[in-house]
Subunit: 346 residues, 4 copies
């Protein structure tokens, strides 16, 4: 049994991680920490866990994690960076679900996250935990930077196009729609039920922290892209729907079929990327509670543009599920262990 | 491997049954039938099943089920009664998720369901599939009548009170709130998104088909009860919240503690009934996607009334999950096999 | 033109009051105060008001209201009581949308609201602002206690029964379902979108502040009633659906028709109470954004109980609309001035 | 008093039209027709209208409209075209809220709407009822083609840019998010509550009927644009949020300020277009139930693109409200008569 600790178990990614691992046969949760809730039963905060998770929240001290093979940080940004080195030194692997280790350029990180980075030396060894591009590196990593939710859906939708030179990088627009759970479980007027439901709005149009993360990964496969990333808040709990636009280069008449084939080849054998038939319209609910990313390709002849539709559950493939997928790789387990749940429809 | 067939796989209880069984290690779905969708891939109707369920819908002929150990009817009412005898004759067990075999009194059934019953002879051998009251009978049953969603939550909330003579049967009021998936997946103006969301209404106040079902079961443990059953439609997909009121008989000062103890004793060891601490307020979302029923007991001294709060997911403990629980009992499997999913919060 | 001030214009009842008065031809808003937002344009907080309300929030000093004929308190409980006397002394009328003047018994108020009352001497002159029972007193009142949202819907549904001795007072149960806007616009984890949507729960089962308010009014028309009041939180913004149960006394066979007639007579001529045909099921959305209360009567012969269904918009008839109705009465305007908006369906 | 008839009063645009006109002081509804509901009280279908609209639905015969100055068609597409000529001949003005008269090119119309046009001769005299571009023509029109909901929000967001040559027409992408009421009140599995809520999806990516309508209008102010129009279904009743992307031409450094000024100048004095400060994020709920269109301009320097955010209520400015605005113009009333309702927040 792999023994794991979870730091920050009161947020939405934390409870989702607990929910998933509770049904993972080869993993045992040894400790769940929360400064604000230390002493409280985890199942008092999340009654869905009653009868299955009998731990109380512990104080987040280094001591708490001493018996763990792996520690997940389901914390706010700029938290894991203070503990990661000590954990690694003691032989404990680390997966950070927040952003501390996602950006390789420490200046860029500090600009977007507004803090001094506490352990810039670790950035080079941190592996960006998107299995579809870094599977082998993840297997041998001790420190994994779990990707952001928006980047996961955007990158998976764009990669085959960029790798194969099928689109003009400067033309990319990512219009992304996210459920409200992405904003976390913080007392905040802007995410009250009566503020969010029956309404839609854009936010962060001028700049969002996930933009440099997306750019960094896209640059690894192609030229620089000043893509536009435009997030929107949806009146739903879970789900990201990324609608990706880009000018096509290439195939002429047979664009639809050839690009469809390229996507299917790119993701053949991937356990958590499902390429739909060309012209499909994936619904976010088809992946609700599941670790799947569903992608559909549209080529619009008149405007010579691609429209790629990519959906994930932001709390699963966009956070906790992907973290478990990374853990499975790091410990040599089946990649889909604990992740077989199907999307909940309805 | 137990081989099962599903009749009527296009409705919400059907797809939920498929979703659950897809992760059940000891059960294999051999056939899924649907008259209207015969020939279509099941995963074309429910894309959440893509990659895991590769069957196409078949025509619902008797021949289709010949290799099945068990057939589930996830059909409208008055469907299973036409096929059940033939299946039983061929040695196939049957679980009907609709109402055909729930009411023992055929006249009463015909009054509420408005049809002539096709196989009244089977009523006496059908076992009402609520494991908390009929576990042993279910183990040896060939024909199980899976309970209605409202009855499941109401009966589990009332049974310990009635069995112990703690309430006045004539005073019972069941004010029940159900999500819209209970109305099924039929093209119907009344259940359109724009009709249901941002609104609450009562319906069937004068009489609902689940009322005689509830009464029949309550009568098995106590005197006749003309309970009031008052269903309401909620703007949510899943979940039933039953608020049960009754005049207390009995304990005087120590009512809260003693009744709490009675409930805890009654459901000790039950894998899918969770009695919360006295005075709790269970949320339906704590059981979303799970087979659990959560119950909390309130005793109001001033009015000498009990208020019992009982929540389930209408599609799981109220339908497909309970059907799988019954199947597990009928085939000697672990009772919770395939049913370990925790409620999805958020 | 009547000149009014609004204290506490940032909450949901405050903005609804502004929204309604913006279309009231005989009333002008002179000042809107908010300690936390002083200096900010009201329309920066509520962009729906852009172009129509050009005021900035002022500090809530007595000076701010000097030109007002009337001041509305759309504030938290225990706020109006500190300013009301001074305003009344300066000849300004007061409507408190909070609870400071609703309960005549100061001890009882202090028990439920947990504070010492700042002006108990005003309680006797405060008029409970439910026009359907106090219309004449409201016309000549200087201080009106605007009713709570739950009490409005419960009292209007029960009054004709109690006045005519048609029900057993000790048997009354009020199972009430409210939208989340009733919880106000406070940063609070429990009312986040991801906590409220797709779920239903009861709360305050053991006791809620609206219970003594309801009892006080019911006692004015009949014997003491230890009614059960059981509120529930619904995943919708606006609306209260009260389902009222009580044992019938009286008419025997002709119960439905005679009681229906009694309700129709009781509310004949009332501009904001609409008695539906017997056996109807009102939807809360039929009053969304409107000042109407819709009521339907059911008599269940088997159990000899009435089930009364009563719906309002908690922010309109349950708060801001009723306050405007009271203002109209206090200033001799048409009672429905500014209140003609119809419920928004869909 | 202007006397009006409404054809097709059972759909969502129909009831919204009735709701608005019920509070319009200079207009009287003489007749509401519906083939399927003839004989039924309008308020039995829409109880929000009880006490205010006492008409029953009539058969939609020409005779029914004989006393009307104006007839609104709130019907499916390809309905108004069969009656319009006869009504115009009898001196009755016509506003069609459907698409029959929006496209000038009859071939193009027939291609997208799949029917033979019944009165192509009327196309040339029909005025496209977007007051912001056709105010004078509408004043003298007898036949007005009320714009589609998507086109209204897209065109208002793009016009000032195109008119002033500030964007590259071939680069335009309109990513539009619409509430479910846009799909109408038809019994349809795809728009059931349990299918729409808690999910987001794109649809019609390859082509949607509103695309040729948008193109036709954009061409009147600029060169041809093969814009991409990509509609998405949102889990909310009302609201359209159009996110409009285009490559900037022009101003260099001062792009934001100068473009902001151009929009403010373009819509100065418009009663129903509200240009927010640059960099704002309008919410659809700020216009819920209101006839306002709110627009915000973002200029992204890195990518040299504009992102324009434009929100309307699809049933008001996108349908019934705009129809009333057109009626006001056609009959010389104040343009905002009956349309002063503010957006409902919350």
């Amino acid at each position: 049994m792999i023994k794991v600790g979870i730091v920050g178990g009161t947020g939405y990614t934390g409870v989702e991680l607990i929910r998933i691992i509770a049904n993972h046969r080869e993993v045992e949760i040894k400790v769940i920490t929360s400064r604000s809730n230390a002493g409280t039963l985890v199942s008092d905060v999340y009654p869905n866990l009653r009868g299955r998770i009998n731990l109380a929240f512990s104080e987040p001290t280094l001591e708490a994690y001493k018996n763990c093979d792996l520690v997940f940080f389901a914390t706010p940004n700029a938290t894991a960076m203070f503990l990661a080195q000590a954990l690694l030194d003691s032989g404990t692997k680390v997966i950070d679900l927040a952003a501390d280790f996602r950006i390789k350029d420490v200046e860029l990180w500090q600009k977007w996250y507004g803090e001094k980075h506490a352990c810039p030396d670790l950035l080079s060894q941190a592996v960006y935990g998107l299995p579809e591009i870094n599977r082998e590196a993840i297997r041998s990593a001790n420190l994994v930077a779990n990707p952001g939710c928006y980047p996961t859906s955007v990158i998976l939708g764009l990669l085959p196009l960029l790798k194969n030179g099928l689109i003009e990088p400067s033309s990319i627009i990512a219009d992304c729609k996210s459920g409200a759970s992405g904003a976390g479980r913080n007392a905040n007027v802007a995410t009250l039920f009566s503020e969010v439901t029956e309404s839609v709005k854009a936010y962060g149009t001028a700049g969002h922290r996930h933009l440099p993360e997306i750019r960094q990964i896209l640059q690894t496969v192609n030229a620089n892209s000043n893509l536009v990333f435009s997030p929107h808040l949806m009146p739903m709990i879970r789900g990201i729907h990324s609608t990706l636009y880009a000018d096509a280069i290439g195939f002429g008449d047979d664009c639809t079929n050839r690009t469809q084939q390229i996507f299917e080849d790119a993701y053949k054998g991937e356990p958590f990327v499902d390429v739909l038939p060309a012209g499909s319209h994936p619904e976010t609910r088809s992946v609700k509670g599941s670790n799947m990313c569903r992608i559909a390709i549209h080529y619009l002849e008149e405007s010579n543009k691609y429209v790629i539709l990519s959906v994930i559950d932001n709390l699963v493939k966009g956070a906790a599920g992907q973290a478990v997928q990374n853990m499975n790789l790091m410990f040599g387990l089946e990649e889909d262990a604990g992740l077989q749940s199907l999307g909940m429809m309805p």
